[in-house]
Structure formats: structure tokens, C-alpha cells
Amino acid sequence: MKDRPVVGYAPPELARLRERTELQFHQAALAEHRLRSLAERAGLRPDIVVLDEPLAPRKPAAGRGSGDPAPAAPSPAPCPDMEGPAPRPLDPAPGWACSTLRGSAGARRVIGVSVCGFDAEGVRRVVELVASQQQRDRDFVPVFLTDCNEFEVFGEYGFAFEYLPPPGRRAGHPREGDWPAYAARRRRLIERKWGLSEVIAFGMGEFGR
């Protein structure tokens, strides 16, 4: 008989907690879905007011406007990549719906899922799709790469994610002028940080481009 693999072993109490989290996530999702359906059938629409007015800067006379760009950052020194040895990649949370993936002995890949150029609803649809695929395969953990600044869905599903602003929201960024080089460096760092085995892309937009 083979020894139980040490990697992935979880104490029984923790394993039970993960199982319970996974189960309750599914039950809560179903309850919310039923509640929304019933409310819709009863003609009850949520009355939500979204407050998104910009705030003007408050500063003494001759202050800058909020759209005034920051100064260009100094040019990088002419030296090669000085990153040095990378810390070990982070182990991202597998998401609430597959909580038991953490602590299980099976191999799992960490996959980058680029979801750019979507609004919050579009991102939600992709997250739901990836979550159901994950529940079927149970052999990967996604890390979402997004340019949408509404992050709630990732918290709802318990997934890790990274963000870089889309072209329309880079105004005033100190590296706006040489964004491609800056973003390429950020993408490399993110890939190493999570140990992404591959990046799959949804939509036309590319993360950071």
C-alpha cells in the first residue's frame, strides 16, 4: 500500500470545514437564485441608486485637475532584467465552489483566465462558465486577469484575480507614455507570481494591452 501523499494532506477538521464551505456555497447560490425568481414573478424589482459622480480635486489655487497627467517616470536605467530569483509562486484559493481542491492530493494547474473588454455582466458570465468547468474537471485553479474594475464577482466565487486598467482608464498614470513596456513587465511578474501554466483568453481584449 502506498503512503498517503504528504503534500495536499489536510487535517480532518480543516477538510470537513472545506467540504461544508463548498456545500453551503452551492446551497446559498441556489437559495439566491430561487429568491430572485420569486421576486421577479411577484413583480418586485430592486430599487437601487448608483452613486458614481466624480469628485473634483480639493486643493489650493493653481491645483491640478483630476485629468492632469502625472509626470513621466524616469527612464529605466540601461541594465538587463535584474529581477533575481523569484519567490515561490503563490497558491491561489481554488474558489468557494471547489474549496476541497485545496488539500486534495491530486495535481492541479494554475491557469490564467484573461477576461478583458467586458462589462461586469460579461465578466460574471465568464466566471460562471469557468467555475462550472472547474467543478467538472477539478484539476485546475483559475486566476482571472481583468481590466474591469468591478471585482465583486471574484469575491463572490472566491477566486484570485489581477487587474490592469484598460486604455480608457490610463490617463494620469505615470507610465501612460510607455504603457506597453510597463504592462509587459507587469504581466511577466503576474505570471511568475502565480506560476501560471497557461493563459486562456475570453473576448477580444488582451490583458494590459
Binding site: P46, A56, P76, C79, G84, A93, A160, F161, A171, G172
Partner: protein, 751 residues
């Protein structure tokens, strides 16, 4: 690595190819395919991973050369086959890496590029090319140098064994040509070389230390409490540390060294030594032993910067005039006298700098360069990278529970003067809000958000911040949060020209064991404590540290003139201004049962059908199911802007909501969040009730909700509360905080 940017096609025609590979059968295909040439005025060939004395000497000399307009090449002493310099951290680290990042020097890949230089300096020559001497194959850089000096490092306890000197001399001549001479950083070692090897060509004088100057004021402005620092020498026993009454005592501790008992300890990896000495009002050396390596160079930096430096009398022969020479028991008295007399302190600073610049300043190295190359270096100019007029400042918030930290940072950033360009790093879900307010935002998910190990996460936080500080040219990081993360401290500590500011609100709960968190303020250049109207209730640990903080009035995001009047506010929210409206804002719900409490509040309000209840939903919380159909919900930021639409609020008592409510005079029923990790919200709520500004209700006493709601519907009660709020209202301190930050970043690290 591709060809060095300094590579010149013109230089291909200057001189022939340098000597080929030596020792063994190594053949470098790059040689056969005519590698490009680079040019430098001075090249250093040494172990660029080192962090000892050689590394600091290398940095000092490279910076002096850069400030003199000379071009410097760094050549790793040995690069593993197939690996380029700098990759995988095999060849460049510590001070050398900092020079490369700043463009003070360029890195030469000896596998791919040949070099022509006026002067080649082999630092740590006593160990160079050991492999070749032992007969093994080792790639050799191809360098054409007009002049070569092999410098032996170390002195005293670190004096190197002088092995194979003549064989090594022959090898170096075969590699780099006959114009080679030897020197040593220590006069005694140079004498020993001359005595033991009379045939060896030696320099007329030792390779004395020479320290560069940073532009900026030569002395520090006075502080309420002086900071006395020391850098213990590894392996040496610390003498009994004297007490420095009324001073903060900090030790920068390298591996193997011991901090004096009772001193604040900063590990060598947590702060760059130059940054450390620049933060001091006094540097003392408490050991009789000779400082060497990093401590020696830190003393030199302190001296040329004019930081009053107190050394034991035994070191007078080494450092000469400039430092004060006193035994340990006399040091506290000298510090006290100078601190009490600003004019004497200033005179001491200036005298220290004047003497030091003559004995260990940049002219020592510049004269050496002139002698060795026959050329006079250009006049000294300022730092290698000129500072832009507007400098990016990174506002970093750790909002994992609510939006309190982020809101304070936004309040300050909105009021920063022109010299500061705010950029945000959100560790929680606040990016949309930052962008809504009009600032660029980066996102770094916290370990709790990403569900990963905190230690691993800190290592990546350090890496990511390091990248941002370099990439954005950040002048300061302003952190609002109770934890100064390891990764933050280490990344900022390594960047000499980047300050660390802690925007730290008070009212920490007395029951929390927060001593270690608070002690991390030793890493900060500035701690700003925003005032709290309920300050008299504060029994937390920060009270005893208030004298070390820059106190400002309570910080608010909004000023009163930014709030629309009742009619306009009600119209925006779709409320009837003629009926009472109540705002329920109980927090993000990440660490308490907000849903249950909202239910209880709505139940209490249901007895008054004329009331229009409105639920505030935190912009960072997942959208909740519509549990109360027909009740209006607000999503977005900031809620305070619409206060005039409401008659009263049922609210948590976090810092920002509490101060907005009292300053804008909105009658309130406070239901403080009592989670053990939170600040003392109950203290604030109790204060407001005692002052007649609001009611305070503990979560467990919900049964009293209907009574208190009934009281709040009385116009007389609300009027009284408003009057009492006006009596307590304070001006907004966000502008004061912004000015303090701007003032800090406008000074160089010498300021």
C-alpha cells in the same frame, strides 16, 4: 542580454582583439562571431553579488565617477556558462544592483561584449580567477585597458590571506596586459605586499575610501526627539550601551551582529544603510573594534552628510578630525547638549561634513582617477537622475474589511499640492472608487483576498512594490492600515530616495496586543495621526506614541460645501424631501451580521410608515439578494455627499462615517462594530452619546431600537443633536496631512 546600449560600432576600429581564453579548452563562439565593443572610462571587475566592503567601495566610486561625468562598466567576476549577468540573481546584487538600476553604471556581459576602457580596477583581486589558477576552464572577459590596478581588500580582522600573489599577478598580466599594478585598501596590507613581494609593481599609496555626496542639506532639521543610531560590527561584542534619555535609539543590524539591549532593531535587509544614516540625528559607535564593511561605509556616509558622529577615542587615528571622540558613558551627555542647543548642533554638522569631505570625500577618488588616467574628471554635478518637479507618491490602502483606510487616503490625495502626483495601490477592492475620484490605480490582491500564505505573499508584495517604486519613480509610499507589511517595509527600505509615511488613525482597542504592529513605526519617515473627535475616550496603545506622530485635525473626504442641499440631494436619490428619510449604513458586512441588523432596524422603522428607509450597500461588497423589496438601496461612493437628504442615520461608528456624521451634523443612532479586530467604535459612539450628538446602542441591546427610533423622529431631539455636533465639529485635517507629505518628498534624503 542583447548588446549593451553603450556599444559603439565606431569602437570596433580601436585596437585589436583582447587576449583569448586562458587555461583549459574554453572557446567562446562569441569571439569568433566578432562581438560588439563597448567603451567606458572606468571598469570594475569584481564579485557583484558581494554586500561587504568591496560592494560599498564599488558603489561609492561608481557614483563619484557618474557625478564627474565618467562612464562606468561593471563586469561580474564570474558568470556561469550560459547565464547572462543579472539573470537569476547569480551575478549582481546589493549596492551594485542599485547602481545599475539608477544608471550610475552599465553592466557588461563578458560573454557577448568586449570592452575598451581607460582604467580597469580589479576589486578583491586577491581571490579573482581562482579557477584559472587551479587549472580549470573559466571564461575570461575581453578587455582592452590602458591601465589596470588590482586592489586587495580587507583590513584588521578581515585582512585577507595573501596567497599565490605572484602567480596571480602573472595571470592578470597575461589577461589584461602589462600595465598592471597592485594596491590595497589598507596601508598595512600594502606594506605587507611590498615587503613580501618586492618584485610586485605596487601603487605609491593605498586605495583609500572615498565617499560620494548626495545633493541636499548637510544637516537635519531638529526634531522633538532625536534619533540616535548605531551599526554594530558583526562578531564584535557590544559594549554596555549607555542610555540616551529623551532619544530614540535604533540599531541597523547585519547578520552576525548584536543590537544593544533595549534598542529598536532594524535588520540589514529591511533598510539600506545609507538611508538609515540619513535618517539619524546622531550616529554612535559603541564598540572598540574597528568598523569594517557596511558599518565602515555607513560611518563614512554619516560623516560626509554632516550627521554628528560619536566614536570611541581608539578610532581617532583612523578617522581624524570630524567625529567627536568620547567614551560610551560620555556620549549621552554630548547628545543631550547638542540637542538642547540648535546653533551648536548646526555648527557640529557643518564641521563634521567639512572635515569628512576633506579626508574621505569624493576628491580622494577623483585625484586617484586623474593620477591613474592622466585625465581630470569633470566638475562634480548632482545626482545621476534629476528629480522631476512633480513626484509620484504611492497611496497604499489595505482595505480588506471596509473602505476606511482608502477613504482617508483619498481625502489626503485630493488635497495634495502640485509637487505630488498621487498614484494608488489598492490591496483590496477599491480600484473603481479610486478611478472614480480621478486617480490612477494599481491592484495588488492581499493574501486574504487571494487566499494564499501570508509569508509567500509578502515576498511577492516586496517584489511587486519594488517594481512599482522603480518603474514609477515613487518619492514616497503613504500607507493607511494597521499593519506595515514586511514586503512594504523591505521594498521601501531598499529605495534610498523613497520615504515611508504611515497614516495611522488612533482609537486602537486597549484589549488588542498591538505592540509589535506599532513598533514597526521605526521604519517610517513620517507618522501622521489624524485627530479623532472622541480622542478623550482613546485608551489604545497609540496614545503613548502620539509625541512621535505629526498630529492633524480629523481627516474627512468631503468639505461641507460639497454637499448638495436637501432638495437636490433628495431629488438625486429619488426621495420625497417632505417626508423623513433615514440612511442605514452599517458597514460592508465582512465581519459582522449586517443583514440581521438591517432587518432589525427596518422592523423598528416599520412602525412609522411615513419614514423612507434607505440602505447603503458598500461598493466593495458582493451585491446582496433583495431581502427587503421596496426599500431603496444605495450603491457607490461616497454616501456622505448625500447626507442632507436624510433626517437621521443608523450607522456604524468607523472613523470616516463617525466624523462625517458629527462634522456635517446628521443626527445618528450608532450601532458600533464590536469585532475584536476593529478600532474602538464603541468608544466613539459612547462619546457622541455623552456629548448629546447621537445615541449609542450595543448590538446586544437591539430591543431598544424602536424606542430610540421614536426619539429620533422628534424634531427637538434632532435639533439638539445638530447643535451639539456643531459645537464639536473640527476643521478638515486632510489638507494638513497633504502638506506634510509634500514637504517630506520635496526634501532629498539628506534633508
Amino acid at each position: 542580454m542583447t548588446a549593451d546600449p553603450t556599444t559603439s560600432s565606431r569602437s570596433k576600429h580601436r585596437g585589436g582583439p583582447p587576449p583569448g581564453p586562458v587555461g583549459g579548452t574554453h572557446r567562446d563562439p562569441a569571439l569568433e562571431s566578432a562581438p560588439p565593443w563597448a567603451e567606458a572610462d572606468v571598469a570594475f571587475l569584481c564579485d557583484l553579488r558581494a554586500s561587504g566592503g568591496t560592494a560599498w567601495r564599488l558603489e561609492a566610486e561608481a557614483r563619484i565617477q557618474a557625478q564627474s561625468g565618467w562612464r562606468t562598466a561593471f563586469i561580474p567576476a564570474f558568470v556561469p556558462e550560459g547565464g547572462a549577468p543579472g539573470r537569476d540573481g547569480l551575478s549582481v546584487d546589493g549596492p551594485a544592483a542599485a547602481c545599475l538600476k539608477e544608471g550610475v553604471a552599465f553592466l557588461l556581459d563578458p560573454h557577448r561584449t568586449m570592452l575598451r576602457t581607460r582604467l580597469l580596477v580589479l576589486h578583491g583581486a586577491e581571490t579573482l580567477f581562482d579557477g584559472l589558477l587551479k587549472g580549470s576552464a573559466e571564461p575570461v572577459p575581453r578587455i582592452l585597458a590602458d591601465r589596470v590596478v588590482a586592489v586587495v581588500g580587507g583590513s584588521g580582522r578581515d585582512r585577507p590571506p595573501l596567497r599565490d600573489v605572484l602567480r596571480r599577478d602573472a595571470l592578470l598580466r597575461s589577461l589584461f596586459g602589462p600595465s598592471l599594478s597592485w594596491s590595497a585598501t589598507d596601508a598595512g596590507v600594502l606594506e605587507e605586499l611590498r615587503g613580501a613581494f618586492p618584485a610586485l609593481g605596487t601603487e605609491p599609496e593605498p586605495w583609500l575610501p572615498s565617499t560620494w555626496l548626495e545633493p541636499g542639506a548637510p544637516f537635519r532639521p531638529g526634531r522633538r526627539l532625536p534619533v540616535v543610531g548605531c551599526i554594530p560590527v558583526p562578531g564584535a561584542a557590544a559594549a554596555g550601551p549607555p542610555a540616551f534619555p529623551g532619544a530614540l535609539c535604533r540599531a541597523l543590524v547585519a547578520e552576525g551582529a548584536a543590537a544593544p539591549a533595549g534598542w529598536e532593531r532594524i535588520e540589514a535587509g529591511e533598510m539600506d544603510p545609507v538611508k538609515f544614516v540619513a535618517s539619524l540625528d546622531f550616529l554612535v559607535h559603541l564598540q572598540d573594534g574597528l568598523p569594517s564593511g557596511m558599518p565602515l561605509h555607513a560611518v563614512a556616509q554619516a560623516l560626509v552628510r554632516g550627521v554628528p558622529t560619536i566614536l570611541p577615542p581608539s578610532l581617532e587615528s583612523l578617522f581624524g578630525p570630524g567625529p567627536l571622540y568620547l567614551c560610551a558613558t560620555e556620549m549621552p551627555g554630548a547628545v543631550g547638549r547638542l540637542q538642547a542647543d540648535p546653533a551648536a548642533y548646526r555648527r557640529t554638522c557643518l564641521a563634521t561634513a567639512r572635515h569628512a569631505r576633506a579626508s574621505i570625500g569624493p576628491e580622494i577618488h577623483r585625484a586617484r582617477l586623474a593620477r591613474l588616467t592622466g585625465r581630470t574628471p569633470g566638475p562634480l554635478r548632482g545626482a545621476a537622475r534629476p528629480r522631476p518637479k512633480r513626484r509620484p507618491v504611492l497611496f497604499m490602502s489595505a482595505n480588506e474589511v471596509g473602505l476606511g483606510h482608502l477613504t482617508r487616503l483619498l481625502a489626503v490625495a485630493r488635497r495634495c499640492p502640485d509637487g505630488v502626483a498621487p498614484v494608488f495601490a489598492c490591496l483590496g477592492q477599491g480600484v473603481r472608487i479610486v478611478e472614480q475620484v480621478g486617480f490612477p490605480a494599481e491592484f495588488i490582491p492581499t493574501h486574504s483576498l487571494a487566499g494564499c500564505d501570508p509569508a509567500d505573499w509578502n515576498a511577492w508584495l516586496e517584489r511587486q512594490l519594488d517594481d512599482m517604486l522603480d518603474g514609477l519613480g515613487v518619492a514616497a509610499v503613504v500607507h493607511d492600515g494597521s499593519t506595515l507589511f514586511d514586503g512594504l517595509v523591505r521594498a521601501v527600505g531598499r529605495h534610498r530616495d523613497c520615504r515611508l509615511v504611515w497614516l495611522r488613525r488612533a482609537m486602537w482597542r486597549a484589549t488588542q496586543a498591538n505592540g509589535p504592529l506599532l513598533a514597526r513605526q521605526r521604519f517610517c519617515d513620517l507618522v501622521i495621526e489624524p485627530g479623532d473627535i472622541a480622542q478623550s475616550m482613546d485608551g489604545g496603545i497609540t496614545v503613548g506614541q502620539r509625541h512621535l506622530a505629526h498630529e492633524v485635525a480629523p481627516i474627512r473626504l468631503l468639505d461641507p460645501d460639497e454637499l448638495p442641499g436637501r432638495e437636490a440631494a433628495a431629488a438625486r436619490l429619488g426621495l420625497d424631501p417632505g417626508r423623513p428619510a433615514v440612511l442605514i449604513q452599517l458597514g460592508a458586512g465582512t465581519n459582522r451580521d449586517v443583514v440581521g441588523m438591517i432587518g432589525a432596524v427596518l422592523e423598528a422603522l416599520a412602525a412609522h410608515p411615513e419614514i423612507q428607509p434607505v440602505i447603503a450597500e458598500w461598493a466593495t461588497a458582493p451585491p446582496a439578494p433583495d431581502l427587503w423589496p421596496g426599500v431603496k438601496r444605495l450603491r457607490g461612493f461616497p454616501f456622505g455627499r448625500w447626507f442632507n437628504a436624510f433626517d437621521f442615520t443608523v450607522s456604524a461608528a468607523g472613523y470616516n462615517a463617525f466624523h462625517e456624521i458629527l462634522d456635517f451634523g446628521l443626527p445618528a443612532l450608532f450601532l458600533p462594530n464590536g469585532h475584536p479586530s476593529m478600532d474602538d467604535q464603541a468608544g466613539r459612539a459612547a462619546f457622541a452619546q455623552a456629548q448629546g450628538c447621537a445615541f449609542h446602542l450595543a448590538e446586544a441591546d437591539r430591543v431598544a431600537l424602536p424606542t430610540l427610533v421614536g426619539a429620533l423622529l422628534e424634531p427637538k431631539v434632532r435639533r439638539l443633536m445638530r447643535d451639539n455636533c456643531r459645537r464639536l465639529a473640527l476643521p478638515n485635517g486632510a489638507g494638513q496631512a497633504a502638506s506634510a507629505i509634500a514637504s517630506l518628498v520635496s526634501r532629498g534624503i539628506s534633508g
